[in-house]
């Protein structure tokens, strides 16, 4: 069963004449790490925005867990799909790093101790413990990137969409991220990565979709358990 289905979707920004995406048809399953690659301007980020419901397709339909995406509210989508923006500045809004990581949990009514435990775990894993009380926008670019990823992962989403997660990360941290993403995938959650980083993609992705000028020109295919259902 496909978790996220993009059904013949095309998209043009309002008041623009050229379509950014044309007839994109992709199905994403749980437990698979898919990489979305392609040259600058090929529509990758736009596609991810469509996938999380921030944008609506001009034609075609997107379905999450078999239901049309438009029937979900943004908050409901957020609980299922974690999205990491390309620019971390766009998604950091709390007063301190610790608050940022715990925001999703705290506001969904989790118990104080659970929240603190999780926050501590993620701060530790992403080596942000020393910055727990720092204002997020004061961090260096790479640190903000890690924080954004941590904050989204802390919510335990069922599916992840990461837009250029390795930009700003040094090799050591990339390895950490790689390990963590693989761990998540093994626990049965799927994800889509947009990345230019060919080395990272090679090591992490199980499926590669190439986008160019708004069209899917190559798709290494859905492998594994989901491949039988077509």
């Amino acid at each position: 069963m496909s978790f996220l289905e993009i059904d013949h979707v095309s998209f043009t920004y309002p008041r623009h004449d050229k379509p950014v995406l044309t007839d994109v048809d992709l199905h994403f399953d749980q437990g698979v790490i898919t990489a979305l690659v392609g040259p600058n301007g090929s529509g990758k980020t736009t596609l991810t925005r469509l996938m999380i419901g921030v944008l609506r397709p001009s034609c075609g339909e997107i379905r999450l867990e078999r239901r049309p995406l438009v029937e979900y509210s943004l908050g409901e989508i957020g609980r299922r799909v974690g999205y990491v923006f390309q620019n971390p500045d766009l998604q950091l809004f709390c007063g301190s790093v610790a608050e940022e990581v715990g925001f999703g949990l705290a506001n969904r009514g989790c118990k104080q101790e659970t929240v603190m435990e999780r926050v501590a775990f993620y701060l530790d894993y992403f080596e942000l413990k020393d910055y727990a009380d720092v204002f997020p926008l004061h961090l260096s670019q790479g640190e903000k990137q890690r924080l954004a990823i941590a904050a989204v992962l802390a919510n335990d989403p069922l599916f992840l969409v990461l837009d250029e997660p390795t930009v700003g990360l040094d090799a050591y941290r990339k390895r950490l991220l790689e390990d963590y993403l693989k761990k998540i995938s093994r626990s049965g959650r799927g994800m889509v990565l947009v990345s230019h980083d060919t080395a990272f993609v090679d090591r992490v992705a199980e499926r590669v979709v190439i986008l160019e000028k708004g069209r899917v020109i190559e798709d290494s295919g859905r492998k594994g358990k989901a491949a039988d259902e077509a």
Partner: protein, 248 residues
């Protein structure tokens, strides 16, 4: 040339840079690399004078440009000698079209209209951006924005160029364009300092500076340092330990 540079963000706060010494000559590309948070960006800001004139951090030591201390120069005149491309293109681009952004610099320099046009064309050519001339920078993709930010600074034609993580945000084509442009600039005699994580970008450089926690760990010819696998791995710079990593 940088001598004994130290820097704190706040008086009495922790030292972010602890005694950095190095030099860059004309016609040379130097890459600065290291784990995130080691002070690479801070170093760049110090060199280009952005901190000295704009913040209340405490800086000791000297930064000499062509023999003259940068503290004795006005911020704006320093800008003419050192071009800096910052990490986040959204905070550098504010004009309606790409052409306007590139023209911003020569206009500030009071160049006559014909020379402005010339510069704009030159830079558009250098980075292959001619097709995006009338585009609104805000509507461009992330990688294209970085190219435009770089173009806007190149219009300065500065003798020293500092790039903060420009290559890592670009796709293959973009990387090639920038690499080619940097080589040309180097051959024209410019001094280029590039902060990068990306190994590919780093191998462009003639010399490499490795930083850790505010200190300069090593400094030497790129080929030599890269060959020192132990150093590279220990500092987390080599991504693929299997060795076939120099992905190019």
């Amino acid at each position: 040339m940088v001598q004994g540079l130290t820097y704190r963000y706040q008086p009495g706060g922790p030292l972010v840079l602890k005694g950095i010494d190095f030099h860059v000559s004309r016609g040379e590309i130097v890459a600065v690399t290291g784990l995130s948070g080691c002070g690479k960006s801070t170093l760049c800001y110090c060199i280009c004078g952005a901190f000295h004139h704009n913040r209340d951090g405490v800086m000791t030591g000297q930064v000499l440009l062509n023999g003259k201390n940068i503290r004795e120069r006005r911020a704006a005149s320093l800008a003419l000698e050192v071009g800096m491309v910052f990490q986040d293109p959204d905070t550098q681009l504010f004009l309606p079209t790409v052409e306007d952004e590139i023209a911003f610099v020569p206009e500030n320099l009071c160049l006559p209209s014909a020379r402005i046009r010339e510069r704009v064309e030159q830079v558009l050519d250098l980075l292959g951006l001619a097709a995006l001339r009338e585009a609104n920078p805000h509507r461009l993709s992330g990688g294209e924005k970085h190219l435009v930010a770089l173009a806007a600074v190149l219009a300065l034609d500065p003798p020293v160029l500092i790039l903060d993580e420009v290559m890592s945000q670009l796709d293959q084509l973009g990387k090639e364009k920038v690499a080619a442009a940097l080589k040309r600039l180097r051959n024209m005699g410019k001094a280029i300092i590039a902060v990068e994580h990306n190994l590919e970008a780093v191998s462009l450089a003639d010399r490499l500076l490795v930083m850790e926690r505010g200190e300069l760990l090593s400094c030497g010819r790129t080929a030599e340092l890269l060959a020192d696998r132990e150093l590279m791995e220990a500092r987390g710079l080599l991504y693929d330990p299997s060795g076939s990593a120099q992905d190019s």
